[in-house]
C-alpha cells in the first residue's frame, strides 16, 4: 500500500508544482503584459490614485484634478475647455488620452523615469504621490484672440515664435468640451465620444496638425520661389512668359491665373510680381524649369514629408511622388496632391522670418514636480536650414509687398510691416466637381524684426463655396490676431 501512496504523493506534488508555476507565470512573468491590457481597469484606477499634475497656461491651470468621491478618486476638469481643447486634449477613464494629456502622460501621472527619485522619496516620507505640472507655451491673449478672430469658420489658427519655435496659440474650430469626455460614467463617455466622432464637422480633430489635410494652394509658392532662388539660377527679377492661359504639355488641362487674364500688363512677368499678385501660370512655368526633384528637396528642407512632435504628433505634410511634368507644374502652386498642415505652413513662414533656419515647433515650456523642482525646460531646437539668409531676406521683401500692395492686402496693419502670403486652394470632390475652396494665410510680423509667425486655415470655403478667397477671409483673421499679440 505504501508504494502506491508514494506514487500518489508524487502526483500531488506535481499538481502543486503546476500551481506554483502558473501563479509565477501570472504574477511575475506575464504581469506587465496583463497590466497593459486595455481591459485591465486596475491599471486605470491606479493611474487615478495619483493626483494628476495640472496643465498650466501662463501659470493658470487649464486642466486640473479635483477630488472625486468614487472609484477614480480624482476628477479631471478643464477650464475654458473648447478654447484649449487642441492643447490639452482629454483624459478619458476608458481609452487613450489625447493632446498634452496623452503625449505628456508619463509626467502628468508621475510615472516618467526622470521622476523615479521623487517617487522613491515619497515612499519614505509618506507624502501622497502627485504628478508633475506641465507649463505650456500658449499665451492666453493670443489664444483668445485667435479663437475670437476665427469666429464661426471651420478652420485653425497657429501662432509661433520664429526664433524659438514656441507655439503661443493653437486654435481649431469647431471644438469640443474635454470635460464631457472626462466624466467617470464610461457609458456616457462612449456615447459622447461616438457622437463627436460621427459629427461631420470633426470637432475632435485638431486641424492644426491632422485630419483630412488640405492642399496649401498659393502659400506653397513660398516654397517653389525658395527653391528657385536657392538654385542660384533665378533672382526675384527673373522673367517668365505671361500668357492668359496655359495648356499643360501633353494634356487638355488648362491652367489660368486666379481671376483670369494675364499676370499684370506685360508680355513677361517677374517672379516678384508673380508672387505678389499670386499668379499660377508663371509658377507652373517655373516649376517646369526647376523640375520635381528641386521642389521636393526644398519642401523637405522646410519639413514636408516628416512627422513632427510638438510633443503631440503632427501629421506629415505631403509633397508627393510626382509622375510627370504636368503634375509637377500643378504641384508648383500647391495643387495636385500636395498637402499641408497649418503647423507646416507656420514652419515655412517662421523659417523665412528666422533668416532661413527652421525651428522645431513645440509647446511644452517646463515640467515641474509638485515640490516645484524642475524636471525639464524647453530648449529651442533647430530642424535645419531651409534657405540662405539672402533668400530669406528676398522672400521677406516680396511677402511684405504682398501685404502692402498685393494679393494679401487685407492683412495690412498700420505702422507695422506684415509679411504674408495668401492661398486659395481648389478641392476636387469625390464626384469630380469642385468642392468649396480651402483658404489660407501664412506670414509674420513685424517684418524687420519678426516676433510672431501665423498661419490661418479656413476650410469649406469659409461658407462661401468657391466664391471666397484667402485675402477675403483668411487674411483679416491673421490681421486681428497679429494686432492683438503685437499690441500686448
Amino acid at each position: 500500500m505504501n508504494r502506491e501512496l508514494k506514487r500518489v504523493s508524487i502526483v500531488v506534488i506535481v499538481l502543486f508544482v503546476a500551481l506554483f508555476t502558473s501563479t509565477t507565470v501570472i504574477q511575475a512573468v506575464a504581469a506587465d503584459q496583463l497590466g497593459d491590457d486595455s481591459r485591465n481597469t486596475r491599471t486605470l484606477y491606479e493611474s487615478y490614485q495619483v493626483e494628476r499634475g495640472p496643465i498650466l497656461v501662463a501659470g493658470t491651470p487649464v486642466a486640473s484634478s479635483t477630488p472625486a468621491n468614487d472609484n477614480y478618486k480624482w476628477q479631471r476638469t478643464y477650464a475654458n475647455g473648447p478654447l484649449y481643447a487642441p492643447v490639452t486634449g482629454f483624459f478619458p477613464v476608458n481609452g487613450e488620452p489625447t493632446g498634452i494629456e496623452g503625449s505628456m502622460n508619463d509626467y502628468l501621472s508621475g510615472t516618467a523615469n526622470s521622476q523615479f527619485l521623487t517617487k522613491l522619496e515619497r515612499i519614505f516620507t509618506g507624502q501622497k504621490p502627485k504628478g508633475a505640472a506641465v507649463q505650456v507655451s500658449i499665451d492666453p491673449v493670443a489664444q483668445q484672440a485667435a479663437w475670437d478672430a476665427l469666429g464661426n469658420f471651420t478652420g485653425a489658427v497657429v501662432v509661433t515664435e520664429p526664433k524659438t519655435g514656441r507655439i503661443i496659440a493653437q486654435v481649431s474650430k469647431p471644438s469640443f468640451d474635454p470635460n464631457t469626455l472626462a466624466v467617470h460614467d464610461t457609458k456616457q463617455v462612449d456615447s459622447t465620444y461616438d457622437a463627436l466622432v460621427k459629427d461631420p464637422t470633426d470637432p475632435l480633430i485638431d486641424r492644426n496638425r491632422g485630419g483630412d489635410l488640405n492642399p496649401p494652394g498659393s502659400t506653397f509658392k513660398l516654397v517653389i520661389v525658395s527653391a528657385a532662388l536657392e538654385s542660384g539660377r533665378y533672382t526675384p527679377e527673373s522673367t517668365f512668359p505671361n500668357p492668359g492661359s496655359l495648356t499643360l504639355p501633353g494634356t487638355d488641362s488648362v491652367v489660368i491665373n486666379s481671376g483670369g487674364g494675364t499676370c499684370g500688363p506685360g508680355a513677361t512677368v517677374t517672379i516678384a510680381d508673380a508672387l505678389r499678385l499670386s499668379c499660377n501660370i508663371p509658377m507652373a512655368e517655373l516649376g517646369q524649369q526647376l523640375g520635381d526633384r528641386a521642389i521636393r528637396d526644398q519642401a523637405q528642407k522646410y519639413g514636408f514629408n516628416v512627422e513632427q512632435h510638438i510633443p503631440m504628433t503632427v501629421e506629415k505634410s505631403v509633397y508627393p511622388a510626382v509622375a510627370d511634368t504636368p503634375q509637377t507644374m500643378l504641384s508648383a502652386f500647391g495643387q495636385w496632391e500636395v498637402r499641408a498642415t497649418p503647423i507646416q505652413m507656420a514652419m515655412v513662414s517662421a523659417a523665412i522670418a528666422n533668416g532661413g533656419i527652421v525651428m522645431q515647433p513645440g509647446m511644452v515650456d517646463q515640467v515641474t514636480n509638485s515640490d516645484l523642482s524642475v524636471v525639464s525646460t524647453f530648449e529651442p531646437k533647430q530642424f535645419g536650414r531651409a534657405i540662405s539668409k539672402e533668400t530669406a531676406d528676398a522672400l521677406t521683401k516680396m511677402m511684405v509687398a504682398n501685404v502692402a500692395d498685393g494679393a494679401a492686402d487685407n492683412a495690412r496693419i498700420d505702422g507695422v510691416d506684415v509679411a504674408g502670403k495668401t492661398g486659395t486652394a481648389e478641392n476636387i470632390g469625390a464626384d469630380g466637381k469642385a468642392d468649396p475652396y480651402t483658404l489660407w494665410f501664412t506670414g509674420f510680423a513685424p517684418a524687420n524684426d519678426p516676433r510672431f509667425a501665423i498661419t490661418v486655415l479656413i476650410e469649406d470655403g469659409g461658407g462661401m463655396g468657391t466664391n471666397g478667397y484667402g485675402n477675403l477671409l483668411a487674411a483679416p483673421v491673421a490681421k486681428k490676431v497679429l494686432e492683438a499679440v503685437l499690441n500686448k
Binding site: M1, V8, Q27, T43
Partner: protein, 463 residues
Amino acid sequence: MANDTAVRSAPPTAPVGRIRLPQKLRNLELGLLIFACVINGASIVLVQLGALGHLDLTLVSLFATLSILVFGLHITLRFVARDSDPFLLPVATVLNGLGIAMIYRIDIADKQYGWDSAAVRQIAWASIAILCAIGVLVIIRNHRTLFRYTYVSGFVAIVLLLLPLVPGLGRQVSGARVWIGFGSFATFQPGEIAKIALAVFFAGYLVRNRDSLSMVGTTFLGMRFPRARDLGPLLIVWALSMSVIVFQRDLGTALLYFGLFLVMLYVATGRLSWVLLGLAMFLGGAFVASRTLDYVNGRITNWLDAFNPAVYNADGGSYQLVQGLFGLAHGGLIGTGWGQGRPDLTPVPQSDYIIASLGEELGLAGLFAILALYILYISRGFRVGFAGQDDFGKLLGVGLSFVIALQCFIVIGGVTRVIPLTGLTTPFLAAGGSSLVANWIITALLLRISDTVRNQPRLVVES
C-alpha cells in the same frame, strides 16, 4: 520521528491516556497555534488600517471569540487525542483566519456591515465548524468505529448529493444546482459533507473488497485488467459523477468525487489498470459532456480562448477569469498589501476567487506561503497513511487529505488557467459555511486517525 520514540518508550500494554506524560506534541501545537492567531489578528488589523483607515474593535472581538474556540479545540485534543498531529490545527486555523480577513476586506469594499457582512457570517460558520470538529473528536474515540458504518455512509452520501434536486429544497446558484436552502436564508451545500461520507464509504468498501478487485483479472498488454463483474463499483461512481455533471451542472464536484475514488482505489488495489480505465471513462464522459452541454463547452472555451474579446464579453464568458488574472498580475511579487488592492473588481472575490484576491493583496510571496501551508496540511494527512497500521485508517487518511489536495488544485488551477474553471470552494479560505464545516470535520478525523497511529506501537512490518 523523535516524538515517535517518546511514545514508543511507553509500555505497549499500559493504558496510555492515564499516565501524565509531558504532552510535547500538544505544547508544540500550542506554540504554533498562538503564532497562527497572531498572524490572523495582524491580518484583520492590517485590513482595517489599509481599507478602513481606522481600527474597528467589533470585528476584532468577534475574531477573538473564534480564537478562543480554536484554543478550546486544542484543549479538547489534550484530553481526547493527545498524540494527534500538532500541525493540522495551526495550519487550518491560519488558513481560516486569512480567509476571514480577505472576506472582511471585500465586505469593506462593498460596504457590507453587520449581518450583511460575509465575514461576520463566516466567523459564525467557523465557530459552528470548530464546534462540529470538537464534537467529532469527542464522539468518535476510535476511527475504526466508522468502518462499521461503511454502507450507511455510502447511503448518506447519495442522499446528500440528491438533496439539491429535491423540488422546493434545492437552490440553483450561478448555474450549479448544488445548494439547499430553507426560506431565503441558511443555504447549504450538502455535497461538501458528502465528500466525507464518500471517503468513509470508499475506504470501508475497498478494504472489504480489495482482494477480489486486485487479484483477479485478465492480463492484457502486460497489465492486469479487472473482470467485468468487478467493474460494478467503478461504473456506479462514474455514473454518479456524470449525473452530477448533467443534473447539478457542477463539473468541479464531479471531478473531485471521481478523482477521490480513483486514488483510493489505486492505493487499495495497487492496480494502475483501474486508474487508466477510470481516467479513460471520465475523460470520455467529459468529452461527450463538452460537446452536448453548453455550460461545459463554455467553460472550456473560456479557458482556452480567455482573452478573445468575443469570449471575454460573452454572457457567462471569460470576464471573471480574466479579471482574476488582472488582479493576480496587479499584485505582482509582493502584492499591494492588505486593503490596498482592488480584489472587489473581480466577480465573487470572496468565494470562488478568494485565491485571486489573496494573490492580489499578498502577492506571489503570499500565494506561495498559502500553497506551502496546504502542502504541509496534506503531507500530514499522507503521513497518517504511511504510518498507519490498519488499512481502513490508512485509506481514510489518504482519501481525506487527497480530497483537500485535489480541491485546491481544481480551484486554484481553474483560477490560474491550468485547467478549465469549475466552481468549487478553496478549502478553509473561501466564504461558505458548508465548506468550512466539512473541512473542519476532515481536520478532526485526520487528528483522530493520527492520534491512533501514534498511540500504537508499530507491530506490522511495512508492506
